[in-house]
């Protein structure tokens, strides 16, 4: 019996060590077992393409509806553990779905999620994204001379015809915002599937002539084959049955005017974008 006691002790110690390692490596979703592992980052890049690029773009640079994940500052996560939770459970109140629920894929294993986090960390750019632009001046322009707030609201203040832009700085890249101002018709707010639509409406431009000859132009709030719900520039809502209209025209030419550099200089646009990014990052 005696000789075996040290051995038992040794085994006990080993078991404790193994358990401790297991706790460190695998237990709880709070530590990335692949941190800084280039192999895992590569596997994560492919997982990212399959599961995330739909919204966040190839290379994680963001798309029309998902934020640029190469930014070091992320609105909803401060560390790997939080990022794991966000990928697993989604972000309530946004179009970020829980793992496996976007109808596009089969869902990832924990291991695959950690690989994706490793990949995202490997492509992060440490410099702040909104280096240029004067946000204070941008705010003045937004609510003043640039007339943005006639149609768009930020933090509850502004118009209702266009999309609320309070969150746009957090969910879109700088380039995407600039493009939306310079070429508003290029990409309306259309989504991929119901679950990934950024806005519940698509902001198509509708022009109708009612039975009594009145022409109404505005944005679609909703539409099906038989009815349309729309808002005109004075924020009047119209609820119309299509078969009672004299004419119905739908266009993907945005209701928003094209802001050419003559209307809004590159410098002023930079300031407006800086304002939107500063609000969106909150």
């Amino acid at each position: 019996m005696r000789p075996s006691i040290p051995l038992l002790r040794g085994r006990g110690a080993l078991a404790i060590l193994v358990m401790a390692l297991a706790v460190v490596c695998f237990a709880a979703d709070d530590h990335n077992p692949y941190a800084n592992d280039p192999k895992a980052a590569k596997a994560g890049e492919f997982q990212f393409r399959i599961n995330c690029a739909l919204c966040h773009g190839l290379g994680a640079h963001g798309g029309g509806r998902g934020p640029d994940l190469t930014r070091a500052h992320k609105k909803h996560t401060h560390n790997d553990a939080e990022m794991f939770q966000v990928i697993s459970n989604g972000i309530p109140g946004t179009v970020m779905p829980a793992n496996g629920t976007n109808g596009q894929g089969v869902g990832m294993t924990d291991e695959e999620i950690w690989q994706i986090i490793t990949y995202i960390r490997s492509v992060e750019v440490k410099a702040p994204a909104n280096a240029s632009g004067n946000a204070d001046h941008g705010k003045q322009l937004f609510y003043g001379d640039a007339n943005c707030s006639l149609c768009h609201a930020v933090d509850g203040k502004g118009g209702r015809v266009g999309p609320d832009l309070s969150g746009v700085g957090g969910s879109r890249t700088r380039e995407a915002i600039i493009d939306s101002v310079r070429n508003p018709s290029r990409r309306l707010a259309w989504g991929l599937t119901e679950s990934t639509k950024e806005f519940p409406q698509e902001y198509e431009t509708i022009t109708v002539v009612t039975a009594d000859g009145k022409e109404i132009k505005g944005v679609a709030l909703n539409e099906d084959n038989f009815s349309v719900q729309m808002m005109d520039s004075s924020e009047q809502i119209y609820l119309l049955e299509k078969d009672k209209l004299r004419s119905f025209k739908k266009s993907r030419e945005s209701f928003m005017p094209v802001y050419t550099p003559n209307l809004l200089s590159d410098k002023d646009l930079d300031d407006v974008v800086a304002f939107l990014l500063s609000v969106g990052a909150k």
Partner: protein, 588 residues
């Protein structure tokens, strides 16, 4: 799960308390049948050919001395009708008041010869009842209706039976779905098969379950495959002779696909056809190295049956990994193929592969529809790859392949007339645009063939995707795509249609554009109507020859199911699932 269990307990409790009431409903059902048959002569309960009510329903009979004899005949007719025999399914055109298979009959036409609702009166259709399933997600079910009882499924492998006249439940069954399943595309189920006194359910964990049609009690439960490796069933099985035929899902996991046939009485597996041939079997040479072991080729949509040749026609899906051809050089038989199997043995008679060596997830699992036109015995399929194929179903020879939506992947045909992929269509690391996208020109949504207009109606989508490769190692039970696809930011918004195709010419006779693409199936009826649903929640009746919408009803939820028709008491009903509910409509 806890919440669901809790709900079920409450539900079962309520059901027990209502046992008497329920029995009463059944008695009422029987009594009403008798009363109706004896004392009513509906103007046109269904189209001529449904002879039973005509023979028996004459009011002139009155209460003659032979009433006892009539009652006896009625009684035996009712008892006979309680059992759904193979012969009844074969002759389903004789009982258009019932809907006996997923597609209505063995041809897959989804054509109902009921004509009470027609182009002249469709505008006055009204909702008769709504059944809330209590499930969330997509309902893809097509109900069955047999002698006044409706059987259907909902998400998470629920099955239920309703009084089809009132929508009141008779029983409900919840299969115990394991919590660790990861089906690719939702916890969906497309419906049941019925044979004898049982209904048959394929489950998300790859079991086949036989339920007592009168109680929903489990009669037998057989395991087909290991769900932990990605095998599952979402398909409505097909009852042929005494066999329950079913195809497996799992093309996203690198499964080895198969089609099974089970003895309806005992649950014993009678045959299995592997859709990826093993070494030594014909077709094995179309796979590189060991790639066949994880070759995919699932069979997740219901096939059709031709009694004249005793053949089951069953379509298969994508090779795995779905979007990366590297490592599986070759045609990859029998992926994306229409199989003609001997119904008794499961032996392969002929096959036709639509997309060879697929790299775009273009499963060819769309319904193969049996039709006779121009003096030929045909089988037609509107394929996910954007082409409409017509084959001679006796020998599997291609007759025509015509595009019915936006396609960019093929600009040539092989010697047989099969569209072949151009080199530029293959996905690349950087990604590039190909039409149709991965969801296809059509998908699982059931089409219909209307023998009155001789037109094939199908839900179609114009969408292009960027296909980009993303190498992935195989690991059992894990996603195995090998690529990613997503829409181009610059691409046009997707467009969705209902298209009417002439199967003899491939010509599109008319198209009806939806506000956005829909996942709804289609039904045609002898009333000269086509029914479909849309993503905005409308159930729509259209004029079959012209595509003009005649009526619609807003159901409040997107449609992922297909409509069907049945009749009770001489009244024609249309039923369709939308949102979380099942709806039934009829004339006032």
């Amino acid at each position: 799960m806890t919440g669901r269990d809790c709900d079920m307990t409450a539900y079962n409790g309520a059901m027990t308390r209502r046992l008497f009431e329920r029995t009463q409903v059944l008695f009422d059902l029987i009594r009403n049948r008798f009363e109706w048959k004896l004392f009513e002569t509906p103007a046109q309960p269904w189209k001529s050919g449904a002879s039973a009510p005509r023979k028996l329903a004459s009011r002139e009979l009155g209460f003659s001395p032979c009433i006892a004899a009539i009652l006896f005949v009625l009684m035996s007719s009712f008892v006979a009708h309680a059992q759904v025999t193979f012969e009844r399914i074969l002759n389903s055109n004789k009982e258009p008041q019932n809907w006996l298979t997923y597609s209505g009959d063995y041809t897959g036409r989804r054509f109902s010869s009921l004509d009470q609702v027609n182009a002249a009166n469709a505008h006055s259709l009204a909702a008769k009842w709504v059944y809330q399933t209590g499930a969330t997600g997509k309902i893809e079910t097509t109900p069955l209706v047999i002698d006044g009882i409706l059987y259907a499924t909902a998400q998470d492998d629920r099955a239920f039976a309703l009084d089809a006249r009132t929508g009141r439940p008779i029983w409900m069954y919840q299969y115990p779905v394991p919590t660790d399943i990861r089906p690719c595309c939702g916890h969906v189920n497309r419906g049941l098969a019925i044979l004898g006194d049982k209904v048959f359910l394929g489950t998300l964990d790859a079991h086949v379950v036989a339920l007592d049609a009168k109680t929903g009690n489990v009669v037998w439960n057989e395991t087909a495959a290991d769900y932990r490796k990605g095998y599952s069933f979402t398909v409505a099985p097909l009852a042929v002779k005494n066999l329950i035929v079913i195809g497996v899902s799992g093309g996203e996991y690198g499964i080895r696909g198969f089609i099974d046939a089970y003895d309806a009485t005992t649950g014993e597996r009678k045959w299995r056809f592997y859709t990826v041939p093993a070494p030594g079997e014909p077709g094995h040479e179309t796979w590189e190295g060991d790639s066949w072991k994880v070759g995919g080729a699932p069979a997740w949509n219901t096939g059709t049956y031709d009694a004249a040749t005793n053949q089951i026609f069953w379509p298969t899906g994508n090779p795995s990994p779905s979007n990366r051809g590297e490592g599986r050089a070759g045609d990859n038989l029998y992926s994306n193929t229409l199989l003609a199997l001997d119904a008794d043995t499961g032996k392969l008679n002929w096959h036709f592969q639509f997309t060879k060596h697929d790299e775009h997830d273009w499963d060819a699992t769309q319904l193969p529809v049996i039709l006779d036109a121009g003096g030929k015995h045909l089988i037609a399929q509107a394929n996910r790859n954007g082409y409409f194929y017509v084959l001679d179903r006796t020998i599997g020879k291609l007759i025509s392949a015509s595009p019915y939506g936006k396609t960019t992947w093929s600009d040539g045909k092989d010697a047989e007339g099969r569209p072949i992929a151009n080199k530029a269509a293959s996905p690349t690391l950087e990604g590039h645009t190909v039409c149709p996208g991965a969801l296809g020109t059509t998908n699982f949504m059931a089409p219909t063939y209307d023998p009155q207009t001789s037109l094939f109606y199908v839900t179609a989508r114009d969408q292009c995707d960027i296909f980009s490769t993303a190498p992935q190692p195989y690991e059992a039970g894990h996603a195995y795509y090998g690529s990613a696809y997503f829409p181009s930011e610059e691409a046009e918004p997707y467009r969705g249609f209902l298209k009417a195709i002439d199967p003899l010419t491939g010509e599109i006779k008319w198209k009806f554009e939806h506000t956005s693409p829909t996942w709804s199936g289609v039904l045609s009826t002898a009333g000269g109507l086509v029914f479909t649903g849309d993503a905005e929640g409308n159930f729509i009746a259209l004029d079959a020859p012209t595509g003009k919408p005649l009526w619609h009803f807003q159901m409040g939820g997107a449609v992922y199911a297909a409509p069907m028709a049945f009749a009770i008491d001489g009244k024609e009903y249309l039923a369709i699932a939308a949102g979380s509910a099942l709806y039934a409509f009829a004339l006032p």
